[in-house]
Each structure stands twice: as structure tokens, then as C-alpha cells.
């Protein structure tokens, strides 16, 4: 008891100093190479199955850390960061022998290699018998990255193998543990939006649901707000989930929703598409037969292009287009931009002096979860003052911008993966 009490007293300081120690035990690169060594193939599974499982295991860590893992098959073995292999007994020049079938199934060396005991029965995803190669690989990669064992229920870093009935994933605490070593994922987004869809529930009632999406380059993530993470297995290529639009570099998504209008648009450069929500594909032509993509200048007269981003404000039924340091409010009913352009800082003033994105926004996003508008630039976001904020503090300026915060502090674990595993 005395020992634990002392540790509790010392723990804040230990964590502070421990952080610097931990930093020295982590890879310093953001891209790591790996290879399943030719002399270390398993006798039990096909080579393709082995490589697929390992590729997936590395991808799972990529999805929660700012590290990309690339399978490298051409460089000399000495240049590979993480080498993997199967062996039995005395194996692969390792000084620690395996013990045969049962008990020890693998081991790994921090910042080093991973060995699997081929006397144990490893299985693939669809086989419930034996030991899941995927789960063991994820565990051992955790060691390579610097994580120790834990006995916390639900952790992938438990020392004993726990069979799982359905697909396992890295839970919140495992993510935070590895992020203590490598930091969180950061980076600008191209556009962020909530996509509304109407569905009938089990009682036949029409309900409106939304999903939150983040776009970056040619990828997108579905963000599960209730779980504070992205959907397992994301990112996905834009071409898979959003058919008919440009497959990278989308500037904006706009959903016009009034009593008489309901339309969604994607913008890129000087062009835009209208999206068919029912069929989940972009329209190829409008009602008059004019093909998409169309020029922004045709569909939205008075709006200069290319734009930085845009969003639709239901409060006043205007689309706000942002370009450089200016904003242009387009009235969807009159199709006019009277009184614009104006400076962003004038229409959306900062609540705190000198805390404002000023220009070249990446994205502007209305969140149904937070019922607020957010401005995004680089790794930061600014929340726009809404009705509730004004009620609490009437001195706040209308459409004011609160001080910036890091995107990763509110939307968690939106991480890139290596392009070679994007299609998995």
C-alpha cells in the first residue's frame, strides 16, 4: 500500500519525465517499411494470406497514428525497418528460442523485428479455430512501436491471447497509449460536411439521419460522432464512395435545404456537380439536359472561382462562398450576391483579437451534432458563435469566431494510411 501511495504521489512527475523517456523509445520517422522475410514464411498459410494479414495489421495501426507502413520487397533486408518471419525452436538467428506448440506464440523487439512461432496454429480472418494471425500481429507491432503489456480488459496488448468472436479493433485507450509515443494525426482537410439522408425506420416512419464526412485529397472518412472516432477501416478512396465527382481535391460540399429546395452540390476549382442522394451518384445532367460538371459562374452568378470553400446557412438561406480573404453570400432564392464580396474578418469577426484565420480557409462546416458552424484552416478550427452562445453571453459578436483549437482535440484519429493499402 505504501509503495502504491508513493507511486501515486510521484506519478505526475514520472509521467512528465517519462514522456521524454518514451519519446526516445519511439521511431522518429513517419513512414516505416516492413517485409515478411522469404526465409520466414509460415508452413500453415499461403504466402498471400500471410502478407495480407500483416498488411492489414500494419494498416490498423496507421489508422490511429501519424505513421504510414509500407511493405517493401525490393530493398536490401538491412534497410527494412521491421522484418517479420515465422520460425520454430531456434529460428531466424534469434537468441530466444520458441517453445513448440502452445504457450509462447510470438515475440517482438522494440524498434525491431517480429517472430511468430510456426509450431502454433495461426489462422486467418474467417477461421475461428487456432490463433488469429491478425490479432497476434497487431499485438507484436504494438511492441515494436514501444507499447508494453497491459492487463486492461479489452486491450490488444494483453500478454495472453484472448479469442474474439467478432472482428477486434484498437480501442480508445490503446489508441491513446500509442499516441503518447507518436502524437495524434493532424493535417488540413479539403472539405467536411454532414450528409443528410431520409430513411424509413422499422415502424415505417420517415426519419432524417446524418453522417459526418471528412475529405482529404482522394480519400474520405466517415466520422462516428457517438464513438469519437472514424469508422473502422477508413479512409476509403473517394471514387468508391462518391461516384461521378472529381476523385480528389474537392473544395466544398453544399446542401441547400429550404421548404421548396433540396439539393446537394460538390465544388472543385471552377466547376460543380449536383449530387443525387437517392442513388448515391452525381447527376450527369440537369433537368434541361445540360451536363455536369458546370461552371460555378453559370450556376451561381456573381460568385468568383475557383473558391476555397463554401457552406449553406439555413438561418438566412444564403450560400457563403469563401475565396482568399473575402466571403460572398449568394441568396439561393434571388440568386444574387448583393453587397458582396466582403472581408471574412468583417462578416465573421474574431472574439479574441488576433485570433482569426483571416484568409484561405480549407473548409467551413455546419455540424448537426454541435449545432454550430466551424471554420477550418491547417490544423486548427474556429467555432462560430451561435444562438445558444449569444444567450449565455450577449456581448459576443454575431457570427463571431471563438479562439482557435486543434482539430485533433475535437475530432479524433482521422489518419492517413499508405496509398498501397488504401484499397484493402
Amino acid at each position: 500500500r505504501k509503495k502504491r501511495f508513493l507511486q501515486l504521489l510521484l506519478s505526475p512527475r514520472q509521467e512528465q519525465t517519462g514522456g521524454s523517456f518514451l519519446q526516445s523509445r519511439a521511431f522518429s520517422k513517419s513512414k516505416l517499411t516492413w517485409r515478411l522475410m522469404g526465409e520466414g514464411y509460415s508452413r500453415q498459410l499461403s504466402i498471400e494470406d500471410q502478407r495480407y494479414m500483416l498488411r492489414l495489421a500494419f494498416r490498423m495501426w496507421s489508422e490511429v497514428t501519424p505513421i504510414e507502413f509500407e511493405e517493401e520487397v525490393t530493398s536490401p533486408a538491412s534497410m527494412i525497418d521491421i522484418r517479420l518471419g515465422f520460425g520454430t525452436g531456434r529460428h531466424l538467428g534469434c537468441t530466444r528460442a520458441f517453445d513448440g506448440n502452445g504457450q509462447e506464440f510470438a515475440h517482438a523487439w522494440q524498434l525491431g523485428d517480429i517472430h511468430f512461432d510456426d509450431d502454433d496454429q495461426f489462422t486467418t480472418l474467417n477461421n475461428p479455430n487456432g490463433i488469429s494471425l491478425l490479432k497476434v500481429a497487431v499485438h507484436e507491432i504494438g511492441h515494436v512501436l514501444g507499447l508494453p503489456h497491459t492487463y486492461r480488459t479489452g486491450s490488444v496488448m494483453q500478454s495472453s491471447y484472448i479469442p474474439h468472436e467478432v472482428g477486434f479493433e484498437l480501442d480508445w485507450l490503446d489508441r491513446k497509449a500509442v499516441q503518447q509515443l507518436y502524437g495524434v494525426c493532424e493535417g488540413p482537410f479539403d472539405t467536411i460536411f454532414d450528409w443528410i439522408r431520409k430513411e424509413r425506420n422499422q415502424y415505417g416512419e420517415l426519419v432524417v439521419q446524418f453522417n459526418t464526412y471528412f475529405f482529404r485529397n482522394g480519400w474520405y472518412w466517415l466520422y462516428e460522432n457517438r464513438n469519437n472516432r472514424t469508422r473502422y477501416g477508413d479512409p476509403i478512396a473517394l471514387s468508391v464512395g462518391w461516384r461521378g465527382i472529381s476523385y480528389e481535391g474537392i473544395d466544398a460540399f453544399v446542401h441547400i435545404w429550404t421548404w421548396t429546395k433540396y439539393a446537394t452540390y460538390f465544388f472543385k476549382g471552377t466547376q460543380y456537380w449536383r449530387y443525387d442522394n437517392e442513388n448515391d451518384i452525381a447527376y450527369t445532367a440537369d433537368a434541361k439536359g445540360k451536363r455536369y460538371p458546370k461552371l460555378i459562374s453559370e450556376g451561381f452568378p456573381g460568385v468568383p472561382s475557383p473558391i476555397d470553400t463554401a457552406f449553406y446557412d439555413r438561418r438566412d438561406q444564403h450560400i457563403y462562398f469563401f475565396k482568399d480573404s473575402n466571403v460572398i453570400a449568394f441568396n439561393v432564392n434571388t440568386k444574387q450576391v448583393n453587397g458582396y464580396p466582403k472581408r471574412i474578418v468583417d462578416v465573421f469577426p474574431g472574439v479574441v483579437l488576433d485570433d482569426h484565420p483571416i484568409s484561405n480557409l480549407n473548409a467551413v462546416y455546419y455540424s448537426y451534432k454541435y449545432q454550430s458552424i466551424f471554420f477550418f484552416k491547417n490544423n486548427f478550427f474556429w467555432k462560430v458563435v451561435n444562438e445558444r452562445d449569444k444567450q449565455r453571453n450577449p456581448s459576443l459578436p454575431y457570427n463571431g469566431l471563438f479562439p482557435k483549437r486543434k482539430i485533433g482535440d475535437q475530432w479524433f484519429d482521422i489518419c492517413n494510411v499508405h496509398s498501397s493499402v488504401l484499397e484493402m
Binding site: 517453445d99 502452445g102 510470438a106 497491459t150
Partner: protein
């Protein structure tokens, strides 16, 4: 090619040439605890100078004590004497039992043997990294597996010295 007699090769897939020695007695348990760092942190650094617990058998006097069959927990009792190596092993066993949600008896009962015989990772639970010039040691985050109903969010007890 390995010799097989069954069309689907299941005779060579299911029966391995080598079986891991199960943990059945206290001597094996001692080795287990030493191997995975429960009695003393294991030097574990990049596959170099790796000292297997097999190369460091327990002291003879300790083995004699264990083989007599006397319970070390009786010997420990409530005395305030300086810890001996036998106490180290009993404490290690109790610690192992605790984190595995087992009664902390200090005895090698069936449940403890089962826990030791489960498939597990070969990385020690407590290890020291040789190349670290600091005194930083990696230890397992010892968190009881007992479910207290909060979904596994027990406070972490860090057993670092």
C-alpha cells in the same frame, strides 16, 4: 517435404514436432515467472545478449524449500524480516495471480497453472532495456482483469520501482 499420410495434410498440420512444456509444478512456475520478468526484470533489447530464464536456474536452497512441499505463504506469515528470495517468488506469484483475477494465495493452484499455460506473447511482462542510458524501465501496466462494471477503465497501477 514433411511426411504425411492424410490427403489434406492435417496429420502434419495438427501434430507439431515440438510441444511446449506445460506448467505443472512449482519449478516450472518459477521458470515462467523468471522468464517473463515477474521475479526480476528481464534484459530485453533488440535481440542482443538475451538471457533466457532457462540459463538461470533458481537457487538450490529455494528449490529445496519448494520441493519440501511447505507453503511459502506460511513461512512469510506476518513477519517483518528482510525479504528473502523465496519471498520474492511468492510475491511474484501473488502479483501474477492478482493481475489475472485469481485469488492471491501464493500457491500454485490449478487456476494459476491454467493462466500460465495460456497461449501468450513471448515478450516479458517486465523488462529493462539495456541500451537505455536512463533508468527507464518498461513494465506491464498491472490492471486487474476483474470486471468492476465500468468497462475496464480501472486506474492503472504502475509497478515501476
Amino acid at each position: 517435404e514433411k511426411l504425411f499420410h492424410i490427403r489434406d495434410h492435417s496429420d502434419i498440420l495438427s501434430i507439431s514436432e515440438q510441444q511446449a512444456s506445460p506448467i505443472l509444478d512449482q519449478k516450472a512456475a518459477q521458470k515462467y515467472l523468471a522468464k517473463y520478468g515477474w521475479t526480476e526484470q528481464v534484459n530485453w533489447d533488440n535481440n542482443e545478449d538475451q538471457n533466457s530464464a532457462d540459463e538461470h536456474p533458481a537457487p538450490k536452497e529455494l528449490l529445496d524449500i519448494l520441493q519440501e512441499g511447505s507453503s511459502l505463504s506460511r513461512q512469510v506469515g506476518n513477519t517483518q524480516t528482510e525479504p528473502t528470495k523465496s519471498i520474492v517468488y511468492v510475491q511474484a506469484l501473488k502479483e501474477f495471480q492478482e493481475v489475472n483475477g485469481l485469488p492471491m494465495t501464493g500457491k500454485l493452484d490449478e487456476a494459476t497453472k491454467d493462466a500460465m499455460n495460456k497461449p501468450r506473447c513471448g515478450v516479458p511482462d517486465k523488462k529493462v532495456l539495456l541500451n537505455d542510458t536512463s533508468n527507464f524501465n518498461q513494465t506491464t501496466h498491472l490492471n486487474s482483469t476483474t470486471d468492476n462494471g465500468d468497462g475496464g477503465t480501472n486506474a492503472t497501477v504502475n509497478s515501476k520501482e
